[in-house]
Amino acid sequence: MTTKTHRSPVSEFRLLTMPLVVFLLVFLGFPAIVNLVYSVSSVSFETLRSPEITGFGNFADVWRDGTFWRASWFSFRFGLLTAILECALGLFLAIFLAPLIERRSWLMAILMLPLMVAPALVGLMYRLVLHEFAGPVPYYLWAWFGASLSFLGPGSAFWTLVTVETLQWTPFAFLLFYMAYQAIPREIVEASAMDGARYRHRLWYIELPLMMPTIVVALLIRFIDGFRVFDNVYVLTGSGPGGSTASLSIYIYEAFFKQGAIGKAVAASVVLFIASFVVLYGLNAIAARRKGAAR
């Protein structure tokens, strides 16, 4: 005779989630706690194991540091602009190339190619492409117009970086929008056409509203990715003359490794974490309220 032990659903849930909890505690919780300690400590590479708690001086340093605010503004502008440009271009391509891709699916593979290249390599590639004496773009500009633009000069570096980022990541937005566009039930579109809706009306009143959740998610993902940009900017311009192209990630990296200001770098990352948390919490609350209102 065998005996069966019955576990309650609650204890089963606890048991099953245990590995995840342990994983999160070890790989996220521990570093987070160490970071919190470092952010209120005087710490260097020599004293990593024995930081001296000194209060909120590191946060005050970050707050007073003009470079931090400049980097924050750069990251915000860069993230917002690239997200809007990538989504606008991605949406345009998804809607207008959809009939072509349906017939020639191999085009999709070509359009996805930029995503396959590591951002640091993209930076290196454009360093070469835009170089006045080695790059094809300035070469032809000199040949045709007798002058070339200063692509990475102080006045234009930001826009060059935005263009490079947009060219690389538009395929990502395009992929999301293409899938969302394909998922729109054909019968709805056909019914509206039967009712006499013109193409632009179908696009504006039916297709775009149905794609809106995907558009919002794509904008958010691309904004986050653009906001935390590091690789291609660092390779192309470093932090720029006078720190003019330093993103927040570059600011934190340079404070940590180049200046050895570990406490300050970690304090900046804590500020970034809190700001991100507040924004995401706010967005979540708005989404929940809209969901409640829709019911």
């Binding site: 990593l48 006045e132 990475l152 102080p154 932090s239 003359p241 006078g242």
Partner: protein, 442 residues
Amino acid sequence: MTFARLKKGGLIAAAIATLLAGPAFAKVTVLGWPGGPEEAALRAAADTYNAKPDVSDDNKVELLFFNRDGFWDKLQADLAAGSAAFDVNLLATYSIGRYAPFMEPVELSGEAKDVYGDQVLTTMQYEGKQFGVPTDLSLHFMYYRKDLIDALLKDDAAKAKYAEIAEKHLGKKLEPKNPDEWTWDDYAATALYFTQAVNPDSPTRYGTVLQLKNLLFNMMVFQSLPRAYGGNWMDDAGKITVDSEAYRKGLETYKMLYDAGATPRDSLSYEFAEANAAYASGQVAAMVQWNAAASELMSKEKSPVVGEVTEAIAPPAGPEGRFTHIHGLGFGLNKNAANKEGAKAFITWLSSKEAALVYARNSGAPALTPDVVKDVAAERPDLVKLGEFAGKYGYVMNGGTSAKALSVYELQAKEFTGYWSGQQSLDDALKNTEKGMAELLK
């Protein structure tokens, strides 16, 4: 448990143990600079050392290489963590102070002074103690187009135009000179003369190419200009002296050249490779660049346009003389070395004449004294100039090997490029630099 399972488990355990114990097999593990001539030279030196009959099996050298990207940051993290994965590690002049707490001073061979000379040995010293063997030295040359300068010196009309340009931009009439007699003003006047934006008849688009990217290495290239006017990071009392006429002169000269279009507009994103490409294109008349570029810029095969007409000399002079910023790569002793005695023996040998010559013959760039370099002069003529310039014009700024030297270069790079790009005034750039340096070097 079956025997088969036991055997399988044993094999897996043995494999894991072997993997984990990998570094323990190393006799003396040396962490080197990966890729390039430094690696080739170190390999040759290690082979020579290992072949010596008096080096026991327990003290043979094994080499270890990280990737170059982020090398110094990874090394710092490893040393700070007390790693014993290597006994001897690479170090650089500007980072000795940063790593010194995790390293031990070393004793060099009795020949070291005669092999390298005092000036070069200082590149591996910190607080009066020797922390490494200076195996590779970097300094700067003034590269110039001999064909263009010769033509200028022979042409009276060109000389008149040169004087006119010098008076307009530098406020004084200057005559073209042989580059070996140049002051920094002569260099600036020549750069302006060979710039099409200033002189439409110039055979080159730009007179010079400045490396103005916000990068610490570019600051090393820049330092020799203020130094020639007496500039230094701090005086003997430890007071920061960057807000000085010497630095003003240097910064203003660069700014004037950039604003006049004597260097490409994208120079603010240029470093070593970009500057070389610009010069090699044949559109630049002269530039200050690292000695490492000599093999590329003076080779007909690698630089067909300029290879045969390029000369390299020491940077121009100022009222205080002629200077070239030197910094070295070398090898020092990890405080947590597993085989400290073996490591010490290798370091002592590495500083001997025998090792220096092996290193030099196998692509390394040691700065050797005239008596030693003559043994390899036929194979490595470039080392003759390297040793001569290092001994005659080499300098390390006060504080240039301190724990925060790297951060000082970083700070200067940010503030000075901010001035050159027009984002802040010269006064602000110098004030911010002095304030930051006082904090870093206190």
